[in-house]
Symmetry: C2
Subunit: 256 residues, 2 copies
């Protein structure tokens, strides 16, 4: 297929490279700032543009890979009312794209994508949604050409999936950051708990996290819990977090 | 060295096998229930006992690898007042072992150890502490024989390290479990977010978690946050957690 990107960030880069490797042709990459798109267009053998009115009408799919809050304004300015346009967001409703074209859809890569860390795109689950059966068919085929894990997901369920990802990943990462800070206060390196962090995450592949739960709260070790709370008494915010999550762990095991 | 274990659980198993591979000799493994120790003693070519009075006095080190709350009672019943005894806990103070022997110490593997998941023990950081310089020297040598990452850590700092691990691992795992529940409510498989969980954890190896933070709270996307809170309105506990952690992420980025 012939594909153009609106946006030149991490998702556009990873998805663009994966699509090109699977023999799709990338025509153009739009970026407000032309310089941002130059490196990517070289890798994709595509053309960089910084003006939506210069978008070529020859693409089969236009992929809006931009921050959530600019999807709607860009959709309004999309020039081809009968061309297929999709976005890649976990949270934005498909309905936002109606303003762009009647042929619209979503391809949401369920992964955190950084520019400086290569991922195996074939292992990235892709959630697809289409405004028509035909669109869904086209998107499913395109998604399968780059990933082994493609599923259909409507906007409400995609948003719930994103909420689950916020708990499992954004919140966990915040706790990594809190741990880093606690360690730094004692002059200890974050490196010390990295193997533990990776092992805890990897363990979910063989054991349900509810069953894998360990630690003072899981074993109702109130002696250790009270030592931890005492240590945190100078950080009231961390103390509140510790108490609430500890209680949540205890409650979740009661209800089993 | 000649080593005996008091305890036959996951830590005794992993540490025992690592020590045996490094040419230490495992003499005995004590377990309340003899059956629990039989498989391990076969793998270690050691002898199983279920009575502390049958402990052979020929070992150089006795390793108490038991749940935190039985370290103190077992220490009191340790029969050799001048033999080196150590425990493997992140939270229990070294002072608890004074009741057992004047020669005592700690070897805390900073890793979550399961029976059914093999880990590379050479990559496990080991925190050691000794009641004397001589003990510390012996323990450091023993630790280095099985791991490339050995550090000296006194009891107060070891407890802080453990607290950091509770945030980074126990709490993260609880959020994996919450995510699993949120997904199950929509008939979605936890598999869908496993690559994301592993990638988020692995990313800490190349990027500080504070810098790596993404998601609605990090980008102050109050529209998505309020959609999430609305979805959670039937789960007041989860809603409180979501609010408190979201606020904590927002606050932590203000203070930068």
């Amino acid at each position: 297929m012939k594909i153009s990107f609106i946006g030149s960030g991490n998702v556009a880069t990873a998805l663009g490279l994966a699509l090109k490797s699977s023999n799709h042709e990338i025509l153009q990459v739009y970026s407000r700032n032309l310089e941002n798109a130059v490196q990517l267009t070289q890798e994709l053998s595509a053309k960089a543009i910084n003006d939506l009115s210069r978008l070529d009408d020859g693409a089969d799919v236009y992929i809006l890979a931009v921050p959530d809050d600019v999807i709607a304004p860009l959709a309004v300015n999309f020039p081809f009312k009968n061309k297929l346009i999709i976005h890649t967001s976990g949270t934005v409703d498909i309905a936002v794209l109606k303003a762009a074209s009647s042929l619209n859809g979503v391809l949401y890569p369920i992964q955190t994508i950084s520019r400086n860390k290569v991922i195996d795109f074939r292992m990235v689950p892709l959630a697809v949604e289409g405004s028509t059966d035909g669109v869904l068919h086209v998107l499913t085929d395109m998604a399968r050409s780059v990933s082994d894990r493609v599923l259909e997901l409507d906007s409400p369920r995609r948003k719930v999936l994103h909420l689950a990802a916020v708990f499992a990943c954004n919140f966990s990462n915040h706790f990594y950051a809190i741990a880093e800070k606690i360690l730094a206060n004692e002059g200890l390196s974050f490196d010390l708990i990295q193997p533990l962090i990776v092992e805890t995450a990897t363990k979910t592949q063989i054991l349900s996290p509810a069953e894998a739960q360990t630690g003072p709260a899981a074993r109702r070790d109130f002696n250790t819990i009270s030592q931890h709370l005492e240590y945190l008494s100078n950080s009231p915010d961390l103390k509140s977090l510790y108490q609430l999550i500890t209680q949540s762990i205890i409650d979740s095991r009661k209800s089993k």
